[in-house]
């Protein structure tokens, strides 16, 4: 289990599935996760250039939602038995057998939106310029996803899926509530 930008990376076993979780009690809705995500997926790796010069403006792969005092940021959870992978009409979405990530081959995407219709979190975004879906890739070339690394309030947790199993996890969750 890790948190914020001080990641004890050794804590994680190789090949284990990690996810970004949100602790909505401490999310302030500052949108920094969104901004860093946009920057990470921008052509220019410069904040000003990415936001002011790049057209179209790079899309974030996550979404920050706010309602009253409640705010949270959500992104693809790389579900076990991911409904988007099952529903994808073209084979764009697949589960990487090694990393266990749900990955998108944008070359194959036709932007039909079937994945969006089945995603329980509404986590997929439409790149209207290129008519393609974009999604969270958990920043594969980074030690920690940039959204987590740059969250100033440690509202985002990058941690192993408890027991590595969705069902157990939900059960555990209800037990603690």
């Amino acid at each position: 289990m890790v948190c914020g930008n001080r990641l004890p990376h050794y804590f994680l076993q190789e090949g284990s599935m990690k996810r970004v979780y949100v602790n909505e009690d401490v999310c302030m809705g500052c949108h920094l996760c969104e901004i860093y995500c946009q920057l990470k997926h921008a052509k220019s790796k410069d904040l000003i250039k990415a936001f002011k010069k790049e057209s179209p403006r790079p899309l974030p792969r996550l979404r920050v939602e706010e309602k009253g005092v409640l705010s949270l940021s959500s992104r693809c959870q790389h579900c076990d038995d991911a409904p988007c992978v099952q529903a994808c009409l073209t084979g764009t979405l697949t589960r990487d057998p090694v990393s266990r990530l749900v990955t998108a081959d944008s070359e194959r995407c036709i932007g039909c939106g079937t994945c969006m219709l089945v995603c329980p979190l509404g986590a997929l975004r439409m790149d209207t310029e290129h008519k393609k879906m974009v999604k969270c890739d958990l920043c594969q070339d980074e030690e920690i996803p940039v959204c987590v690394a740059n969250c100033p309030n440690e509202a985002l947790l990058y941690m192993e899926v408890p027991n590595g199993n969705d069902k157990l996890e939900k059960k555990e969750l209800t037990q603690t509530q």
């Binding site: 948190c3 914020g4 909505e24 073209t90 079937t114 969006m116």
Partner: protein
Amino acid sequence: MSVPEKIKYLIIGNSAGGIGAAEAIREVDKKGTINVISDEPYPAYSRPLISDYLAGDYTVEKMLYRPVDFYEKNSIKTILGDKVIQLDTEKHTVKLESIKPLTYQKLLLATGGSPIIPRIEGNGLQGVFTFNKLDDARSIDEFLNRYTKKIRAVVIGGGLIGASVTEALLKREVKVTIVEMKDRILNTILDEETSAMEAEALVECGVEIITDHTAVSINSYFPGEVSGISLDDGRSIPCDMVVIAVGVQPRLDFIKNSGIKVNRGVIVDRQMQTSVADVYACGDVAEAFDFIYRENRLTPIWPNAYAGGRTAGRNMAGIPDKYPGGTAMNAVKYFGVKIVSAGLVVPPDESYETLREVHDHIYRKIILRDGKLAGMVFAGDIEKSGIVYNLMKDGTDVSSFKEAIISDDFGLTSLPDDIRQAKLATPPDKYISVVTSIEEPEEIVVEE
């Protein structure tokens, strides 16, 4: 005499359902023999992309549903371009057109659907096509390539297939007239408002739409060639080609006489097993559980075929699994108009409640039954439609927040805390407290 080897998993059909089953089997059984039979000579390809192929945007390679090495990597033997002609469920054998009979342990019928051809005069003429598989797109492509003049086409049927062939034909600069029997196009998957949106987009692209009429004959002036069609009101429309797109029906060919229980499609239980032991079915050929109608129904759509195939595959491999159920569900993007729909699109009677939000190019409609979602149609902004679809699938009572579902700022934060937190799998407190205790010493170091 050698006893023919029993194939552990025999799959008839090489599309979404067959692939779904093969993948599910390989997840739990790495060794058992899998054979896939298809009368189409291609590796599995994305059927919806035949429209893009005809339009000229896609090659066959780009249409492949799985990487080229898929079959090899998963040790799946393919028998392509051959047709099953007989099934003997007692002997567990399948007879094919050109090779020796095969014996199976578990069989999956994923034969899909075939186009319905109305019995009208002239339907066998050259220049009359259907549009369900890659070879159909190829035939139309070859036909168009023969001419330099502007081609006029009549598409009979304004459903999904009719709309996708129209989109492709327009890109090939063909003048298209759609003849729809009902009062509006895409009437099974869209409601009145959204089907009007699509109709408007089509007309803007120069498509002529004739509703409330049917074609009674396809006419020929030069022998063998199409010269036009006649409508039920006596009107005739000149054209050079006709695409029949009135719908698909389960492909029951050899299944009909096999003793397997069939209604409109092959009847399956929640394990996707047919009435006969060791025989499973999924996809367009099967009548599987629909969670909105709460009964077995044909829902001939790609994602349900794949999901049903997975369930069948797991059960075939001995892992008990229950099909969660599917329902009609579509995402369309014809002519740039983005619409998704699922479940009911029009309330069947007064007992259903309908909520609607319309402004600019945004359209949201939900249909409720006893406080639970029974249908949805979203147009314009579809990114968060999945949250709604899953509430519907889970049978969540949404009466306390139904208004929020159609509002502009609907999202996870609109959901009651317990539903939202379960969806996000918010980490239990104990994990968060563990994290905090790790952090504390480091904070002190920072202060030094």
